[in-house]
């Protein structure tokens, strides 16, 4: 495929079958390889869409500074787009993220403000909102509430999936900002109302839930429960086990949130096979495993790996 520049190549990702992990000939799993985007994650779509919308409505002027709370991937994607479009990026990122996230952000020229590990992304959002209020000329695109985030999945990811898999029965993705699930979910519901839209939410170590009070809990403004059929919480043991299984059985080297998503997808696959249904289950490979190598996720026993990533954010 030929494109005029790198940004034009965002999206158009392959959908690959998983013959070894699919339980029967009638229940098939399909992986949408979002790691094949320029920075290696699904977030390139949202970052590009948010910047283009802000350029179109005049929010972003040449030379502007973009501020964003992020656990890493969105910041890396924004930095990649900003480098080409001439903006400066400041990311507020929790300190309990992999070393590679810091390296990649710096590589694409972003500045990093660390937020405390305790409280995870919720704390990054709070710190970024505070910084934004004190620097009114900075532009916060705010992925948790920016309609361009789900809209790009409605406009691109959803149609790509339906074109490649018209027989789709289930769609499974991770739940971070909820952009992927809201956008693809709405698109699929409009075109195939019977499709099940299933969320796999990462369950982290205790540190991440260490808020001072329950009112510090955070639900992204974009989240609309009515788009989903069900929502599962997947812990590090299951997520790591599936990440390794995907690597060993199908050769796909994915990040840890993809393992969590695969865990939910395999649960649905087993249920469909058990009740004799025909199912075509599409799930998102959010990113590759590269930026988690230093965490130890792929080495030693599962217990050692679980220990190694405890307290870290992986979505």
């Amino acid at each position: 495929m030929r494109y005029p520049d790198l940004l034009a190549s965002v999206g158009h990702t392959p959908l690959v079958g998983l013959p070894r992990l699919s339980p029967t000939a009638d229940v098939r799993l399909w992986a949408k390889l979002e790691d094949r985007n320029p920075t290696g994650s699904v977030k390139d779509r949202a970052a590009l869409a948010m910047i283009e919308r802000a350029e179109a409505d005049g929010t972003l002027a040449p030379g502007a500074t973009i501020l964003e709370p992020t656990s890493g991937n969105t910041g890396i994607s924004l930095a990649m787009v900003a480098r080409q479009r001439g903006y400066h990026v400041i990311c507020v990122m929790p300190e309990n993220t992999s070393f590679e996230r810091t390296q990649l952000l710096r590589m694409w020229g972003a500045e990093i403000v660390y937020s405390p590990a305790q409280g995870g992304s919720n704390e990054a959002v709070r710190v970024a909102k505070d910084l934004a209020s004190r620097n009114p000329d900075w532009v916060m695109l705010y992925q948790y509430g920016n309609p361009a985030n789900p809209q790009t999945h409605y406009d691109t990811t959803g149609p790509e999936i339906l074109a490649d898999l018209p027989e789709i029965t289930h769609f499974v993705a991770g739940l971070g900002t909820t952009g992927t699930l809201m956008g693809v979910g709405r698109f699929l519901r409009e075109h195939k109302p019977e499709v099940q839209i299933v969320a796999a939410e990462p369950r982290y170590g205790e540190l991440v839930y260490g808020l001072r009070n329950l009112d510090e809990g955070f639900v992204p403004e974009l989240y609309d429960e009515s788009v989903l059929t069900s929502r599962y919480s997947v812990g590090p043991h299951d997520a790591l086990m599936r990440t390794r299984q995907l690597l060993h059985e199908e050769g796909i080297f994915a990040g840890i949130s993809t393992g969590a998503i695969l865990h939910a997808a395999l649960g649905l696959a087993d249920r469909a096979a058990g009740s004799g249904q025909v199912a075509d289950i599409c799930f998102i490979v959010c990113d590759g495993g590269w930026k988690y190598l230093s965490t130890g996720a792929y080495e030693g026993s599962l217990e050692e790996a679980e220990q190694a990533i405890s307290g870290q954010l992986w979505a």
Binding site: K43, S71, S121, R231, V234
Partner: protein, 90 residues
């Protein structure tokens, strides 16, 4: 009937620091009432007049109860219930 309940850090002041407690109940609402009898005050932190509090998620065997029957979700012996504050990613 015994149901294992995982308590998040911020609510452990009610359970004397216990991370996992057991309680009984035919439904999630019954379970929350039983928890409140054992650990007074816990209920108000988890539910309000409208149902589950906005920033609290409750999972039955890893599935979000909002997609089951909410507080009316039936429970069985051996089930595991996890209470967590809502957190984001991205």
């Amino acid at each position: 009937m015994a149901i294992e309940v995982q308590i998040p850090t911020i609510l452990r002041t009610y359970t004397g620091g216990e991370k996992t407690v057991t309680a009984d109940g035919g439904t999630l609402a019954d379970l929350v009432a039983d928890l409140d009898a054992k650990f007074p005050g816990l209920k108000d932190r988890v539910v309000d007049d409208a149902g589950l509090r906005r920033f609290v998620n409750v999972y039955l065997n890893d599935e979000d109860v909002r997609f089951l029957d909410g507080l009316a979700t039936p429970l069985s012996d051996g089930d595991s219930v996890t209470i967590l504050p809502a957190v984001a990613g991205g």
